[in-house]
């Protein structure tokens, strides 16, 4: 039982405890959830300790048998990548409680219980090293989000919730098939063991096998990312979800997909990943530009941010399939950045909605006059999202673009168009919402940030600046883990080069004695 187990178990225990709280005492429930999630966050900060020594491999590993036949293990651990995603989850959960303080007023108990269950599932996804365990957490995190959207969402919440569930479910059953197939070949669900078997040459997957397995995993992850053209559930889910749901969905749940690609898809099936990189990169660039263009014409702020997520996540996938150190580092950093800045955008939009009860840009205008602090926070967040230097997204986007340029220059050029477009849609939206004349309805309803609201957004703004100015606090550990994954990818490439006969035609001609 180490610290990681505690961080994983604490939200689950808090969830169970929350079920027994009296339903009427809403204040108690909110305070309890906030306290519990803050304790989890404080505990999770302890996970940073190994960074000082930074040994290779996984930290805080626990490996216990769960089920004997088939051998399913409770195997958890973190490395330089998952560490940050766990921290992102534990960091955002208390904020989700704070921003829901006034926003959520019915079925308060269930809401907070689901939030804790969601935290449990998300942390589990990022720490699981056993494929089966990973799948369990993957699905477990689906259920609370389904309810968060369906119960506390806006008008079309039911449609959105069902669509969200079915898209993810359809993708993940194929992953389950692939996991089981991998087990029949490797005799283990343990990702570490499977990798060892593959590296030692004891487990060799044929080309066709690798392709289908890769595809099964990739589709499940691509739905979650979401990669164009599997993204259609995302705008619905985002628009309909309550603020806290949008935040957790955009900031953390989408990263389950990209994390899965990095952790499982690439190391397990390096050859298939390389062979298929072409069309995947193509789709991600289409996603970057398409997402940005669609965002530009959205009349609904939340939908605009949702499409901007499609665009931003395209960068992450582009980075992951450019296969070099810079692009990987950029992709992972961009995962965190997007979590921070898009989470903040959703929170701020939530604040606007609580005041004016509308998400249409047309209903706003001149918000900066009655609410200067809110506008300032929105400005910083928006600039971060665009990728302004000194703010966080710049670092990630730059690294991804540089990495993509190393692999193929034209990729970087196309992706850079997305950066330009993101400036267009964000600034235009900002102008229409916050500047100009202040209509009566806005003047009447919109007021500045309350201290509680400030507490919900300030930590994120601080992180944006911190991650933009001092990326060296984060990048070395990410880079070290990425280097290990890359080494594996390159090793596999060399083996294949050696093993494959250079040229069948030439060989045949040699045999014929020419």
């Amino acid at each position: 039982m180490n610290l990681l187990d505690v961080v994983l178990a604490a939200p689950a225990l808090a969830f169970l405890a929350a079920l027994f709280l009296p339903k009427e005492n809403e204040r108690l429930i909110r305070i309890f959830t906030l306290a519990a999630s803050l304790v989890v966050f404080a505990l999770s900060l302890g996970l940073l300790a190994p960074l000082r020594t930074s040994l290779p491999g996984y930290w805080f590993v626990t490996d216990l048998p769960w089920i004997l036949t088939p051998a399913i293990r409770y195997h958890v651990g973190i490395d330089g990548v998952s560490l940050w995603l766990v921290l992102l989850t534990t960091f955002l959960t208390p904020l989700a409680v704070i921003i829901s303080w006034n926003h959520i007023s019915h079925r308060v108990k269930e809401f907070h219980a689901f939030l804790l269950l969601l935290e449990f599932g998300l942390v589990g996804v990022f720490v699981a090293l056993d494929l089966f365990l990973f799948y369990v957490f993957w699905e477990v995190s689906l259920v609370p989000m389904y309810f968060l959207i369906g119960v506390w969402g806006h008008e079309r919440r039911i449609y959105a919730a069902v669509k969200f569930f079915l898209f993810t479910m359809a993708g993940s059953v194929l992953m389950l098939a692939a996991i089981i197939y991998l087990y029949t070949r490797a005799g283990s669900f343990d990702s570490v063991e499977i990798l060892t078997l593959m590296q030692s040459g004891n487990l060799r997957l044929g080309e066709v096998e690798q392709f289908w397995l890769f595809l099964a995993f990739f589709v499940a992850f691509a739905v979650k990312v979401p990669l164009f053209p599997l993204h259609t559930w995302l705008p619905d889910a985002h628009v309909e979800a309550p603020t806290a749901g949008s935040v957790m969905l955009a900031s953390v749940m989408l990263k389950m997909g990209t994390y899965g690609i990095l952790r499982f898809c690439l190391p397990f099936f390096p050859n298939a990943a390389r062979d298929n990189a072409g069309w995947i990169v193509f789709l991600s660039i289409v996603g970057i530009i398409y997402g940005a263009l669609v965002a530009m014409v959205q009349p609904n702020i939340k939908k605009l941010i949702a499409y901007s997520s499609v665009s931003h996540l395209g960068f992450v996938v582009l980075g992951l399939f450019s296969f070099n150190q810079q692009s990987f580092d950029g992709a992972v950093y961009q995962m965190l950045n997007h979590g921070i800045s898009t989470g903040a955008l959703f929170i701020l939009v939530g604040y606007l909605y609580e005041r004016r009860h509308s998400l249409e840009i047309a209903d706003y205008g001149g918000v900066a006059t009655p609410a200067p602090w809110l506008s300032a926070a929105f400005m910083i967040t928006m600039l971060a999202s665009i990728g302004l230097p000194t703010l966080n997204n710049f670092v990630g986007e730059y690294l991804v673009l540089q990495g993509a340029a190393i692999e193929r220059f034209s990729w970087a050029v196309w992706a850079a168009i997305g950066v330009i477009l993101s400036a267009c849609y964000m600034l235009w939206m900002y102008k229409r919402t916050f500047f100009g004349e202040t209509p009566e309805s806005v003047r009447e309803h919109v007021f500045d940030l309350t201290p509680r609201e400030l507490a919900g957004i300030l930590p994120l703004v601080v992180m944006m600046v911190w991650m933009g100015m001092a990326s060296q606090c984060f990048l070395p550990s990410i880079g070290k883990t990425n280097a290990e994954i890359l080494r594996r990818l390159d090793a596999e490439k060399e083996i294949r080069v050696q093993a494959a006969p250079a040229d069948w035609k030439a060989l045949a001609e040699v045999r014929r004695g020419r």
């Binding site: 269930e110 919730a161 569930f165 079915l166 194929l174």
Partner: protein, 487 residues
């Protein structure tokens, strides 16, 4: 050859559960006319006690495994597994029935006695190693179920349900019997092991086409009982018309016992000709899943929805049978175990919510259940999530094991199609969840408080569903060990 027909003590011990069930059933029948209407509850208590003792007997009978009655019965892990399963399903049905029957003003000893007799048949089906014995078990179980389906005499739907069930069921039994006759004619034996020896011996084996025809007849008979396509058409009507607790029972007990028969007959006697019937099972499994799931998509009646879902689940179990391996057998056993609890739980909740005369069985009637009765809704949600196959529930592990078994046997396509099917299935279970959680309660919806027996049944089912989802090891190990002995 002098055969000693007088059973020994240990033989009697091995059939103790059946004897106890018969005895209790008879006692209840005798007591019935002697009990004044106000005290019918006493019969229920007697019957429940008998069931609990029989459960205990089924467990202890395993301490002395072996054959009984000239090899007609066999008490082994497999038998014990299914005996415990069907008796447990019976106990849960009882618990769910008390308040239901009281509400319908239909308390009576016959109801309990019929369930007990039906269980006798199912226990025999699980234990038999001899075709005639299997048929007798099948008939005891079926005839009692026909009557149970029409137990509410005043209800038109129940009458229709019983009649349909009886007519089609008799046909199926006839097919089964015909298959037995063929097999006897071909091999000169009714004992499963002897049949296997004959079929496996190249010199003695009859023409393969004839064996295949016999297998097809037997398959048709069993397929009807498990409601596999194309013999599934009775299921929605019967489950809808029968009293809800009876539907719960029908979807668990007789189904599990019929699968036990399938596993025994096809896993032993007809094993040598497996090449001939396996493709058929493959096809039937796929058809059953597809028909069940797609038909369920459009249902508006919750009982019909659960009926179609139970067809689909029979399809999943058939996937494990198509795997034709020890792991497949174990997976099917585990699945039936988990499935019984979640499905009986779901039907028990429907039995409670249906109200007098089962007026409230549309999905829309569940609107806002989560705010009206949060605990009931939460338990129902657990059962539905388990039926979808969401992790940390028994249904997930069940599905996982059986698709794993299928992949182990290289049934890649069946696995992929089956898994996609289960994604389709998620939709209609979610519809129920949506109505329960996301819709506002209808004005004027009244709620009665669930009786203690009903609640006990729910909690047992819920606890078992979650337990099997978090710690499935013991049940799975037992199933795997028993599957090994089957061959």
């Amino acid at each position: 050859m002098a055969v000693n027909f007088i059973p020994t003590g240990s033989e009697l011990f091995r059939v103790l559960p059946e004897m106890l069930l018969t005895l209790t059933g008879t006692v209840v029948m005798v007591m019935e006319p002697l009990t004044p209407p106000a005290q019918k509850r006493r019969l229920a208590v007697v019957a429940l006690t008998g069931l609990l003792v029989a459960l205990w007997a089924a467990v202890v009978a395993f301490s002395d495994p072996g054959p009984a009655f000239q090899n007609m019965l066999m008490v082994d892990g497999f038998t014990t597994f299914f005996r415990v399963l069907v008796i447990a399903a019976g106990i849960l049905t009882f618990l769910a029935s008390f308040s239901y029957l009281k509400r319908e003003r239909a308390e009576g000893g016959e109801y309990y006695a019929l369930i007990l007799f039906s269980l006798v048949g199912q226990c025999l089906m699980a234990a038999s190693r001899e075709l005639i014995m299997i048929f007798i078990g099948l008939e005891i179980s079926s005839i009692a179920s026909y009557v149970l389906a029409g137990y509410l005499r005043e209800d038109r739907r129940a009458n229709e349900s019983a009649l349909k069930y009886f007519l089609l069921g008799s046909f199926a039994s006839a097919f089964f019997l015909y298959g037995i006759a063929w097999l006897y004619g071909l091999t000169g034996a009714t004992n499963l092991d002897e049949i296997r020896q004959v079929l496996g011996n190249r010199d003695l084996a009859p023409a393969p086409a004839l064996t295949a025809a016999a297998a097809a007849f037997i398959f048709a008979g069993v397929a009807f009982k498990v409601s596999a396509a194309p013999f599934q058409v009775w299921t929605p009507d019967v489950y809808q018309g029968a009293p809800a607790p009876v539907s719960a029972f029908l979807s668990a007990g007789p189904k599990a016992a019929a699968f036990a028969v399938f596993l025994r007959v096809f896993g032993t006697a007809l094993d040598p000709v497996s090449g001939r019937w396996l493709p058929l099972v493959w096809l039937v499994a796929l058809a059953t899943m597809v028909i069940g799931n797609f038909a369920a998509l459009t249902q508006s009646n919750i009982k019909r929805l659960l009926a179609y879902s139970s067809i689909a689940h029979a399809g999943y179990v058939l996937v494990a049978l198509a795997a034709h391996s020890e792991i497949g057998t174990a997976a099917a056993m585990f699945y039936l175990f988990a499935y019984s609890f979640m499905n009986v739980g779901a039907f028990a909740i429907v039995a409670h919510l249906a109200g007098r005369g089962e007026k409230m069985v549309e999905i829309e009637d569940l609107a806002g259940l989560s705010s009206r009765q949060p605990v009931t809704a939460a338990l129902f949600a657990v059962f539905l999530l388990s039926l979808i196959g969401v992790p940390l529930t028994g249904g997930f592990f069940g599905k996982f094991y059986l698709f794993k078994a299928a992949l182990d046997s290289n049934l890649v396509w069946l696995t992929v199609l089956g898994l996609l099917n289960s994604a389709v299935a998620a939709y209609y279970y979610l519809r129920v969840l949506v109505v329960m959680y996301f819709h506002e309660p209808a004005p004027g919806a009244t709620d009665e408080i669930p009786a203690s027996g009903m609640r006990t049944a729910w909690w047992i089912c819920g606890a078992a569903t979650l337990l099997l989802g978090i710690y499935p090891g013991p049940v799975l190990d037992f199933a795997a060990a028993s599957a090994k002995l089957l061959k």
